[in-house]
């Protein structure tokens, strides 16, 4: 009896010890699609990681991981080497993340910009970048003289198409004559190709350039050519001080800190997060005064309205390219429709690559 009791005490102490150990060893891993120095997408995720580190939690990261087979190997490696929470920060990591999550039920996974949560240990999160695109569209529509807006697109996924549509709708509202020209580069990150695409759009008459790719190359091309541009993911102003009107900034830090602490303390639950201007996950860099104080005021007001919910980026009536109604007059698109968006709205030229 006494022996058994002692055994019990020892095993409890041992368990506590293990748990204590596990807590002290709590580690968060990050998988990045580009280098941390891209000054765009990955750079911002890494800023978020640094905030987690500052909150006293150990982190590691792997950068420049190609989407595909390599990604699964890296995620698996992180899970095996004792990481308790893993953020996979690109759309293309969606299937690999879910695949690895199945084999490591005790590890938590957070996948950015995706929609698959096949196992209870996978959460998804994203930002409502399209709210930022609405602001860009407003500025682009007002600033363009040629009425041609050039858009460098990466991959034909809902997130990118949503951005194109939100921008076009907002631009049409202030300038019904605008045309959106799109070049697909099929990469998130290839400065050479991105700058060639920017140049091609400028040569085709675009005097406002925006990008859904991650390098600073397009804004530099725009600066040289003397046309307007917008930074992507982080404030790119110093790469093109004259040309950049503003940048859409992704601020992941608060979310990363909150989720890391939750996972450490055992309160982490599966969820799908989609935050925007309101929560601050999407923020705008300072507006370039070159667009005039009136326009700056207008855009600031629009930003406030989007944040408060007074205005919605996708307010009806919205038509697709063939003229079919997508969103009825007076109503707004619901999140389900936004998440799966795969048609262009009226006014966008060309077809979505299949």
């Amino acid at each position: 009896m006494y022996k058994n009791f002692l055994r019990y005490i020892i095993s409890v102490l041992f368990l506590l010890g293990v748990c204590g150990q596990a807590n002290a060893d709590f580690k968060v891993g990050f998988v990045y699609v580009g280098p941390t120095g891209d000054h765009g997408w990955t750079y911002q995720h890494d800023e978020g990681r640094k905030a987690v580190e500052a909150a006293g939690i150990k982190t590691t990261y792997v950068e420049s991981v190609p989407e595909g087979a390599d990604a699964e190997r890296v995620i698996r490696q992180l899970a095996q080497s004792g990481h308790d929470l893993i953020f996979t920060t690109s759309f293309g990591y969606m299937d690999p993340t879910n695949k690895v999550a199945k084999d490591f039920p005790n590890v938590k996974f957070e996948h950015a910009t995706g929609y698959k949560r096949e196992h209870s240990n996978v959460s998804t999160y994203s930002a409502r970048f399209y709210e930022g695109r609405t602001l860009l569209g407003h500025m682009a529509g007002k600033m363009t003289k040629t009425n041609v807006i050039g858009y460098i697109a990466s991959f034909p996924i809902p997130e990118v198409i949503r951005g194109i549509n939100a921008m076009t709708l907002a631009a049409q509202k202030v300038n019904p004559d605008i045309k959106t020209k799109i070049v697909w580069v099929f990469t998130w990150y290839d400065p050479g190709k991105e700058s060639e695409a920017a140049q091609a759009l400028i040569d085709q008459g675009a005097d406002v350039i925006m990008q859904h790719t991650d390098s600073t190359a397009p804004v530099q091309v725009a600066e040289k050519a003397g046309v307007w541009s917008f930074g992507q993911a982080s404030d790119m102003q110093r790469f093109a001080p004259k040309s950049i009107l503003t940048s859409i900034i992704d601020d992941w830090a608060p979310y990363y800190v909150e989720r890391s602490i939750a996972a450490r303390d055992g309160t982490w639950k599966q969820q799908d997060t989609w935050h925007g201007l309101k929560e601050g996950m999407v923020a705008m860099a300072p507006y370039n005064s070159a667009m005039g104080s009136d326009l700056v005021k207008e855009v600031e007001q629009l930003q406030k309205d989007l944040a408060s919910g007074k205005t919605h980026s996708f307010t009806g009536p919205i038509y697709d390219q063939k003229g079919n109604i997508l969103v009825a007059d007076g109503s707004v698109a619901d999140d389900g429709m936004l998440a799966g968006m795969n048609v262009y709205v009226k006014g966008v030229e060309g077809d979505i690559p299949k």
């Binding site: 280098p35 941390t36 120095g37 891209d38 000054h39 750079y43 420049s64 050039g150 020209k181 799109i182 070049v183 697909w184 099929f186 290839d190 400065p191 050479g192 190709k193 700058s195 060639e196 695409a197 140049q199 091609a200 759009l201 040569d203 085709q204 008459g205 675009a206 390098s215 600073t216 190359a217 530099q220 110093r238 790469f239 030229e349 060309g350 077809d351 690559p353 299949k354």
Partner: protein
């Protein structure tokens, strides 16, 4: 698409600018291969040139030093290849591949400190002529000095290989190192020189990317251009002029497909993206059909290890 003449001039100018790194790297590799050495490390030497050029520009604030330094670093890195393949007689293919992997890793490591720094404006020549002469202006003027050099290089290389004694010696070494050696030619010395020259040109090609084309340092910024340069040399059947043609076609279709997208032509984008590769191969195969000439130009001992029997 608007078809006014000046626009076509601007387009041709852009195409020329995009083909410069291919011309430089392929011309360098061509000399190396004509001496019988197959160096698959082009991509690695280019990326080392790119980071060295950009790093030196940031540190010294001197573009001239940066360009010279990038060539020197390409040359230095090719010494490793020379030592291994010529002195230690390792396999050319394996050593070249290792050089590429080494170069990419090494450049990423050095480059950590240079990420996110905006580049410096590289001086362009005759900018006012470019703007004042329609059509021909944007084609002929407003480029960097390296572009003019790149477009001269294939002709110089052609002349050098065909009309000079050293050119003849290089070809002799590439065709039959044993006979060349029996004639009293120092085969190893010739091959070393060709390897170093190839390295320097690849370094310059890299510097063109990091200093002029997209003036910044980015990991892996050569983006496979080294491999394309290698392929160009083979498909151009070791003729410098055909290398120039191939590089222009490749650069041309890359740019044109972006324009076709921008005007909204209804061709599948994936097909457009593959077009530069397909068209370059087809054109080069068609213009190089003469098998007698291919035999004449192909360095017979390419990739074979040579050692002098004592």
């Amino acid at each position: 698409m608007s078809f006014d003449l000046n626009f076509i001039g601007i387009l041709i100018g852009a195409i020329m600018a995009s083909s410069v790194p291919l011309i430089l790297a392929a011309s360098g590799e061509l000399i190396t291969e004509r001496s019988g050495v197959l160096n698959l490390g082009v991509e690695g030497m280019m990326i080392i040139g790119a980071i060295s050029g950009f790093g030196l520009m940031v540190v010294t604030d001197n573009l001239f030093l940066a360009v010279i330094g990038s060539m020197l670093s390409g040359l230095i890195i090719s010494i490793i290849f020379g030592l291994l393949t010529q002195s230690l007689l390792t396999n050319h293919v394996a050593t070249g591949l290792a050089l590429t992997i080494f170069g990419i890793g090494m450049s990423a490591m050095i480059g950590k400190n240079f990420v996110g720094i905006p580049g410096k404006e590289f001086p362009l020549l005759f900018v006012n002529l470019k703007e004042n002469i329609p059509f021909l202006g944007p084609i002929l003027f407003g480029h960097s000095i390296i572009l003019y050099f790149a477009f001269l290089l294939p002709f110089l290389t052609n002349y050098f290989l065909k009309k000079t004694k050293i050119g003849l010696i290089i070809r002799a070494v590439g065709d039959s190192p044993t006979s060349a050696s029996n004639q009293g030619i120092n085969v190893i010395l010739v091959r070393y020189s060709c390897i170093l020259y190839g390295g320097a040109m690849c370094g310059l090609a890299g510097a063109y990317l990091s200093l002029i084309y997209t003036p910044q340092w980015i990991e892996n910024m050569t983006g496979g251009r080294g491999w394309i340069a290698l392929a160009l040399v083979v498909f151009a059947t070791w003729s410098p002029i055909k290398v120039l043609v191939g590089a222009l076609i490749f650069g041309g279709i890359t740019i044109l497909q972006l324009h076709m997208q921008a005007v909204g032509l209804r061709i599948p984008v994936q097909l457009l993206s593959a077009l530069p590769y397909i068209m370059t191969i087809i054109v080069l195969v068609v213009i190089s059909r003469d098998s007698r000439k291919i035999k004449l130009n192909t360095p017979t001992s390419l990739g074979q290890i040579f050692y002098k029997e004592k």
